[in-house]
């Protein structure tokens, strides 16, 4: 993968064409859960439902395990994976709490204190220092 100028931003995926291509079937599965009839079918039998989306075994495993960060690493996009989370009763804020590894309560507290500051969070080198 060629280096891109935005690869230097820590803890962030930029959903570009390369990621979109890699995550296509995973994202199309996730977005199908926007509709109630599909949520019902998925919740009745996850394995059978997933058979109609030709994603990779790793992507499928990440769906089954609800490994939210791995889903993004494998080409998922947050607006899509959020539909799987919503199906599980997890809203955007609680999903973010899980992805950051802070947990839901600590994340909510951080947001109430003004969010994650930009200082120290601009470049990979700032994260590597820690």
């Amino acid at each position: 993968m060629a280096n891109k100028e935005y690869d230097d931003i820590p803890g962030t995926f930029v959903f570009d064409a390369e990621r979109s291509r890699e995550g296509y079937h995973l994202n199309q599965f996730c977005i199908s859960l926007r509709l109630q009839k599909n949520r019902d079918a998925f919740n009745a039998n996850e394995d059978a439902y997933l058979n109609s989306y030709p994603m990779t075994p790793a992507q499928r495993g990440a769906v089954i395990k609800r490994d939210w960060n791995l889903l993004l690493e494998l080409g998922g996009n947050i607006y899509y994976t959020a539909k799987l989370a919503a199906n599980d009763g997890i809203n955007f804020q609680n999903l973010a709490g899980r992805m950051t590894g802070m947990g839901v309560d600590a994340y909510r507290d951080m947001m109430l204190r003004g969010g994650r500051p930009i200082e120290g969070n601009r470049t990979n080198s700032e994260w590597e220092k820690d």
Partner: protein
């Protein structure tokens, strides 16, 4: 002649819609968010636009990964609020000024903006939350006080259109609207932002200082604002902060000189910095 009298910039955080739909706007968390909209709602009542030209982004609702238009103009007679995974919002169907929308489509395409035309489309929180912010509670059996022409901008798959492209599109939108014969008061909305990152390990990023600078530029130096690079949005305002490119369409459609009549900024609403500004055209009185 139709004319653009004012522009509204505002976030479209879905949780703002949820708070209104579940009557939680008075609790300690939401109160400071909604207090800043009181003046906006009074202004909106007085302004009483006939048509809102509403720039927003679809969140994989009308457009999933199979089709990603950079700019798509809603030309259907009406738009149903979509089920985004937790049931449709209890708000009215959104009605278009269909004749004007097709005039705008034709004008923009001949002005060399190659739009996608949507003759069927559901709309998500990106469109309905700004209407709720500006109009307050309007039930599903009532009507929105204005007709709405939606313009969707892709900001989900990188790259979105540049700020400069959006700014120039705004200018073309103004030419389109002002060449429409009916005497209509049009307000343009640019929505999304402000700083926020919804995903991965840097989620929760907020950059209030940057957001304030952006709001200042909206009023004072829109050309400088339109030159902000994608990399700067991504790094300084979070991966989803790049939605702010849509504000430039709104700003491009206004006069170079505007009057800022209201501003509101609050952190947090869910994961997001809520930003809001109302700008009136200085030329509005002379029209």
């Amino acid at each position: 002649m139709a004319r653009i009298t004012a522009g509204v910039g505002c976030s479209h955080v879905p949780a703002i819609g949820v708070a209104m739909d579940t009557s939680n706007t008075n609790d300690a968390y939401w109160k400071p968010v909604f207090e800043g909209f009181n003046k906006s709602r009074e202004w909106m009542k007085k302004q009483n636009p006939d048509v809102i030209f509403l720039v927003y982004n679809d969140h994989c609702t009308a457009f999933d990964a199979s089709c990603i238009p950079t700019f798509a103009l809603g030309c259907a007679a009406e738009f149903q609020p979509a089920d985004e995974g937790w049931g449709p919002r209890p708000v009215p169907v959104v009605k278009n000024h269909q004749k004007m929308a097709s005039h705008i489509a034709q004008s923009l395409i001949l002005d060399e903006f190659d739009l996608t035309i949507m003759n069927e489309m559901e709309v998500d929180h990106g469109l309905t939350v700004p209407l709720s912010i500006m109009y307050g509670d309007v039930g599903p059996n009532e009507e929105w006080p204005a007709l709405v022409i939606p313009l969707c901008v892709n900001v989900v798959q990188y790259p979105p259109p540049t700020g400069n492209r959006c700014y120039n599109l705004g200018k073309a939108v103004r030419r389109a609207i002002e060449s429409y014969e009916e005497d209509l008061n049009v307000v343009i909305f640019g929505t999304g932002g402000m700083s926020h990152q919804l995903q991965y390990k840097r989620a929760g990023l907020i950059n209030s200082e940057w957001d304030t600078k952006f709001l200042n530029l909206m009023t004072e130096d829109p050309v400088a604002a339109s030159k902000i690079t994608h990399l700067e949005y991504l790094r300084e305002t979070g991966s989803e902060g790049i939605e702010m490119v849509m504000w430039h369409v709104m700003r491009g459609a206004l006069d170079a000189e505007v009057t800022e009549v209201h501003r509101h900024y609050h952190v947090p609403a869910s994961n997001t910095a809520v930003g809001h500004i109302i700008l009136e055209n200085k030329s509005k009185d002379s029209l």
